[in-house]
Symmetry: C2
Subunit: 469 residues, 2 copies
């Protein structure tokens, strides 16, 4: 909980003596008044400019009831009076400002912390994908247990079903999907290109038909910002266009320039939303000069973080790494750098080594449903008959529930029998593995031993899976 | 943990002073020696006949390593020496004898405790069905959290995949599916009749073709006992034949008489297995005299518990209740009575009121996957459009994760989007509701207020679901 004076000065509530006790008391009242799932989702404290008046508000999920109060400072404490229930919806929460601090570097690799009003994100960070308001086959508490600090939500899917307006009425995406930590939403542009039907691209934006019911929709920079605001996203992505690779340079340049004009419109439409961040997206394909132009254009506009977009779209790892040898360096050093849609474990390690701070990918969760398992010793497929009688866990050193509680033989049986528990356990394992990977990298970068860590990572993978019994 | 002297005398380990400390120390060593999932699954203590020597063994999952030790009594304590690792597989566990004690009655309704070597079962008990070594869409720890004391496993499914022999090699069904509490297995007969192809019934047993791959199999009383032993089932069911209703009395009598001959063969084949129970199954359709003959035949053979079989096969609730008005009374009063494959919440309440102690049904879990939700106010279907914008939980007084964390709107969205989390949350809710129901009945029977409890149960259901917003 943070108290804030004006737009820049902020101070921790614990500085104000007995306020915490008051908050506990107020929380008690509100818990009584609001039954689950209308629990409190936000407590906001604001110290007014005269430094003697404290406003606070408690925002409930779903029904948008707000308890508001005002206190006067008396020495080292505040006394509160004038509590009032309000059903207004318009109150803007005053939150911890978004910030990024680097805490260690090792070569180009970086480790640090992104601070948001919904909690810290340790970087390098891997963001599990919760496409349609769920990380498939996982409860949110389980996702958190794997070590995830932040999820990604897909604007395209959510705008179509259940719609951004409905999620807003229900208290925002966090309350809707029962995940109270940070959420990053993409802009919808990429999925429109890969999933929707009958697309039409103009300077204004994209019109398309829903892959669910064929209904017609439009996405523009302005509409994408509006949807991501309705969802309550903590980190909002600019609306951009991402051409498939390979493509000729003129096409890539044209697309990049359009994306930069859309980035400026996104910035304008986003406006001033304390506690929420807007990230720009660098484009330019595999062309170093276009990437530089794109980075310059974005930096000129000014964003809270910068994504490297337009990679992992079919160019192959070598080409992607070639691009990552220069692209992150073109972006501001003091802001988070996010590589979108990446990737396999070795893609992730190579990207971190090149200065990337954030990544997302459906791979660990999707693979969990198709029987593909990631371990320190590479990839295995649980449906292979060699696992049928194998009493050993997927990875004897892994502490996830799948490895602690089940043999390969069981997981093979569950997969072959099309049992839902197979998706649940393998997804959990894969996400756990990915988060362990990130944690290992953060520690190694902090300790200045990232080269040695990478050598072990690659050596273990080259060993391949354990021998059959 | 129980210590046992010979086949009949047994005494709680806590009677032996410092033994518990020794066990903790030994467990510590073994945890270190055996990595997951080879954790300890069984600690066996046996006081030899001289009453001064204590043997103990610690049996590990999967790899079958056994740590064995022997201690000499010195006053009120035992000192242990001669620890040794063994890889033998043949050691027979000495377990808590199976027992049943009634702790309360109210009219015909009964409450009590079934004691097994894997934990107590509070009755009336509802057993979730874990057909293919998983309660679909649930982790075993979550099933336990709903309040389940025991699961049911299906012999027919498990014998076909992954096979009973494989489960045995992997340490038994408990270790295989990561559920360390009691398991009851059916005999396979009912599923052969409902699922398998090309059945042929003879005096000897049934031959049939697998519904999975068409392979040919045979089930006899002897083979069913062998399979259930290989699975490691705590409560084994006799192999029987269950005719579909309606059927003419001659057919029902003939079938019942065959089942009674098979019950005697099951009893012989089961043999003497301390710590494991064998239940007989009453047949006789809706004919009171045939039910009485069947009960007499079973009681003559002698079982650890008695099931009422051949109901809930299409005869309707009124006919089933008519039969339950007399059938349980025909069975021994001092043994558990199990009504197989029942049922809907009001079936269960009616059965308990008529003296039934145990039930199982796929309904709460299967319904969870089809969007049917059980609450105190009856049944609702989450796919109904009325829930699309409803911020309220399924049941505001329910404490399950689905009700604590999610709105009806979210659950509707997840179901419509075919998300696995829908099956996970709705199954959890339904199983939680069923266990709450059982807990409520146990308390009411104990308190002698079961009539009043039933009146509230029916009145709440008649109110129907909460009004739309």
């Amino acid at each position: 909980m943070m108290a804030q004076s004006g737009a820049t000065q902020h101070q921790d509530v614990t500085d104000f003596g007995h306020i915490n006790l008051v908050v506990v008391w107020v929380l008690g009242i509100l818990r009584f008044a609001c039954r689950p799932p209308n629990g409190i989702c936000l407590v906001v404290m604001k110290l007014l400019k005269d430094a003697t008046t404290m406003c606070f508000s408690l925002v409930c999920r779903n029904n948008q009831k707000i308890l508001q109060g005002m206190g006067q400072r008396q020495g080292d404490r505040f006394s509160f009076a004038g509590l009032a229930f309000s059903v207004s919806h318009g109150m803007t929460a005053v939150m911890t400002p978004f910030s990024f601090s680097l805490t260690g570097t090792d070569g180009k690799a970086r480790t640090g912390t992104i601070r948001t009003s919904r909690g810290d994100i340790r970087t390098p960070a891997f963001m599990p994908v919760g496409t349609a308001a769920t990380v498939k086959a996982m409860l949110p508490g389980s996702v958190r247990e794997t070590g995830a600090d932040i999820l990604l939500g897909n604007t395209y899917h959510l705008m179509l079903r259940p719609t951004a307006e409905r999620i807003d009425r229900l208290g925002g995406l966090h309350a809707f999907m029962n995940w109270d930590r940070p959420i990053l939403t993409d802009s919808g542009g990429f999925q429109v290109m890969s999933l929707a039907g009958l697309r039409k691209l103009t300077e204004r934006g994209v019109t398309f038909k829903s892959h669910i019911d064929g209904s017609k929709h439009e996405l523009t920079p302005e509409r994408s910002m509006e949807i991501q605001r309705l969802l309550g996203s903590d980190i909002v992505m600019c609306f951009d266009e991402c051409p498939a690779l390979p493509a000729d340079k003129a096409r890539i340049a044209q697309s990049m320039e359009l994306s930069m004009r859309w980035a400026a419109r996104s910035r304008d439409a986003f406006g001033d939303r304390p506690g929420h961040a807007l990230f720009g997206i660098q484009q330019g394909g595999l062309e170093q000069d276009l990437r530089a132009q794109s980075a310059a254009a974005l930096t000129e506009i000014g964003f809270d973080g910068y994504a490297v977009g337009g990679l992992a779209v079919g160019e192959g790892q070598a080409s992607m790494f070639d691009c990552l040898d220069y692209a992150p360096d073109q972006l501001p050093i003091d802001k988070p750098r996010y590589l979108m849609g990446v990737g396999k474990p070795d893609d992730i390690v190579g990207a971190v080594a090149r200065g990337i701070d954030m990544m997302d990918c459906v791979l660990p969760s999707r693979s969990g449903r198709t029987g593909q398992v990631f371990t320190r010793r590479g990839v295995l497929n649980i449906k292979n008959a060699r696992h049928m009688d194998d009493p050993r866990p997927l990875d004897e050193d892994c502490t996830c529930p799948a490895c602690r509680g089940y043999s390969r033989a069981y997981l093979h049986h569950a997969f072959r029998s099309h049992e839902i528990i197979s998706s649940m356990l393998l997804t959990w394992h894969n996400l756990h593995y990915y988060q362990d990977l990130m944690s290992g990298m953060r520690d190694a970068i902090e300790a200045g031993t990232f080269d040695a860590w990478q050598a072990v990572f690659h050596a273990q993978r080259e060993m391949g899976d354990i021998d059959p019994l």
